[in-house]
Each structure stands twice: as C-alpha cells, then as structure tokens.
Amino acid sequence: ADDDATLQILAAASLTDAFTELGTRFEAEHDGVDVEFSFGSSTDLAQQAADGAPGDVLATADEDTMAIATAAGAVADPLVFATNVMVIVTPQDNPAGVRSLDDLAGTTWVRCADEAPCGKAARAVLERAGTTARPASLEEDARATLDKVLSGEADASLVYATDAASAGDAVTTIDIPAAERERNPYLLATLGRAGDADLAGEWAAFVTGPDGEAVLTEAGFSRP
C-alpha cells in the first residue's frame, strides 16, 4: 500500500463501532494509511456523496439511500456486505415481562419510524407477525430506539441485533422468529471520485474478508 495515504469513509451511524474497530485493524495492516470516518445518517451521507463530499467509500444501512448516490452517479455497483435483523430488547430486568411480539400490547414500547431503514424492517416484521399493538413512539433511528430502553423510558423496543449487541448486558435481547425473513442489507460502494480507488477497493475486500466477518459478526451483523 501507499505511504501516507488517507482513506476517507462515509458510513451509516449504525456502523460506528464495527467500522471504527475495522479501521484500526486496517491501519495496522496498511502501513502509512490513515483511515478516517465521517459517520452520519445514511440519507445525509448519500446526499453528501451525491453532492461531491470528500470521501472514498460510502456505506449505507439500506438500498434506498444508496440509490440516491447511485442515481447521482457518485457510486457504481454497490455490494451488500452485511445484513441486520430485528430483535426485541427490554431493560435488563424486563419489568413488563415481554417475551414476544404478542406481549407488546399494553406496554410502553417503541420502534423506528416507517421512514427510517430500521422502521421499514420493523413494520415488515410486525405485519408478518400480525401484531397491531401501538407503540408509544416512532423513533428517528435505531439508536434512539435502543436508547429508550437503555434509559428506562420504554419497556421494550424493536432494534437491530447489532444495536442489541452493542448494549451488551444492559439489555435483555429477545429474538423474533418472524424477523429472519426481513433481514435488511448494508451496502458498500467506492465513490467515483475516490482519491485512491485501489485503497477503497482494498477496504471493500477487507470488510468482506475474514477480519470484516469477525468484527461484523461480533457486532451482531450477519453475512449477506
């Protein structure tokens, strides 16, 4: 790899933990390479990429947002590098005794808003399971949804497995059988104006390679 190169990655906020770790490993393997991230909402990042924001790689949390960048010609041929799945989380002591989607009715629970990637997934899961319980709130993003449980403001919430994993022991995680079929993809693409397309390509390979697999799995992602 080149000396003193910088790899600039625009990545969905839900990738913060995993990508930061991967960045450290990548730097260790690539002497003189500096990996820098700009985390944000997928929509923001895709629009910024379309607008010509500096960066070599764009990683978004769903297809629709990546489509914004694709449509603008900023990226081509995005690849799915991970998927995520919905789970229920409750505070550690699960005060409302939630065991499944059916228990949500009558509790103060939250999920993502329909417009957010995580909301689309949540709604699909709920529809598939035939749940009609009304949430207290439709949260702006996955992290805010998790936060409501972490802070004790909600008895339960529907979040990504990755969010549950990041919360560790602070929450109780309950798998949703119906969710398996509503996995949502994370996409990665090299930006057309990448300063160093080779390095960007190496990052894609790294993320899809063994290191990536290890770190992403650890963070709760699944392979596509």
């Binding site: 929509t43 947002t65 914004i68 103060t108 417009e115 949430p135 439709l138 949260e139």
Partner: protein, 276 residues
Amino acid sequence: MTGPAADGGSRRRPRDPLGRAPLVLLIPAVLAVLLLVTPLVTMVAATDPASLVAALRSEAVRDALWLSIVTSTAAIVICLVLGLPLAWVLARVDFRGRRLVRSLVIVPMVLPPVVAGIALRTAFGRSGLLGEPLLGLTGFAFPYTTWGVVLAHVFVALPFVVISMEGGLRAAGPVYDAAAATLGASRRLTFRRVTVPLAMPGIAAALVLGWARSLGEFGATITFNGNYPGITQTMPTLIYVERQADTDAVLALSLVMLAVSVGVLVALRDRWLVTA
C-alpha cells in the same frame, strides 16, 4: 391648540434629519440580509411544486403543523409566565449569586438539542429523578405526551427568552419604578403597569425569539418524547423523519412551515416586535 398651519394631509415619510445612513453600516447590513435570505430563496426555488401540493394535502402534515403551533404557543406562554419574573429578578433584584444564576440560565442554550433531551430525561423521564416519583404518585409521565413536547420546548426556549427579556427590562429605567412607588404602587403593580409596558418592545422581541426557537426545536423533543403522529410529532420531527424517505418532501414541508411562520410574524404587527 391654534397652530400656525394645518398638518398637511400627505403622510410622506420625512427625510431623516440626521442624514443618510453611512455606507460602512449599510453594506454589512445588506450582506447580512443577503446571507440570511439567499438560502431561503434558493430553497424555495429547489422545491418541487408537486410535492408542495402533496404536502398541503397530507393529513400528517396538517396534524404536525397544528401540533407545532399549539405546543410552541403553549411553550411561549409558559416562557412568559416563568421567564418574565425571572428576567425581572435578574434585572432588578441585587442578590448574591446573581451572576451565577444568569450563567446557569444561559447554559441550556449551549447544550446541543439532543443533549438537552437527554438532560430532560434524567430529570423528568419515566425513570428520571423527578419523573419516577411523579409517575409513581400520579401515574403521569411527560415522555410520549404533548405535555412532554411543551416541556422540551420550554427548556430550550426559556434561556433565550430570559436573557433577551432581561435586556429589555434593564432598558426600562428603574427611575420610573421609583416614581410609581411614590404614587403608592406596590412592586407588583409597578411591574404590571409600568415596568412591563415600558419594556414591551424587548419583551415582545424575546417572545418572538423564543417562539421561533421553539417552533424549530426538534432534537430535544424527539429525544425526550419520541415521535408519534398527532401526539408528539411536530413539524420539525415530521420533516426529520420524512427526510430519510423522501428528500423532495422535506423541502415542501419546510416551505409550509416557513409560510406559516412568516404569516404569523407579519401578522404580529410591527409594534409587537419592536416599537419605534
């Protein structure tokens, strides 16, 4: 009474006796206006008319707009009720620790709105220091309710209102307070009949600042109250959520908000903002 000449019927704007405004002030003033107005104009230009029509037809938009207006107005009323007395105390009462109180009042302005929401949660959330006992005693909790939205708006707007009002009250000279006192007016009556009317331009400006701040508020609201249509979904929240799905709609929604707020601001007659 018997004047030398009748006042001409023409109400022409008289030439300013002090002469023209100096360019050294006019030029930056024009730049400032351009800086503030250009983005608004380009935003309007970038908006797809079709999505504007769609936005106006949408029930979700109407609900959110209504909720925004209701909660901002409620918040500003509370800011008036709580903030005006606090501004008065800061302006008129010479107590130990006044400087500290003033600094503490300013601090919430510095908080990024999301952090303001988190701070509110630690105090008034369902498991917050005050919120938990409140929930236990009354079964009521602020989060996920319209009251919670109002609380978040008040928390965010109050510092602006207080600091800005204090300036207005200080300008309404204490010499008139003294005159009112000699006429037998209690401090309370003086406040109501003398201080407040004299400071009205400043108070009104402060309320406009607060109302505008509260109307645009979103981070604290969504963090503390979440987002549910009809209950906690204000216009900014709707816009934020909508943005993840449909960027065009965002501009249309923003325009609707702009139109409403300009309408309100223009409707508040000039003298309500600042009197000459």
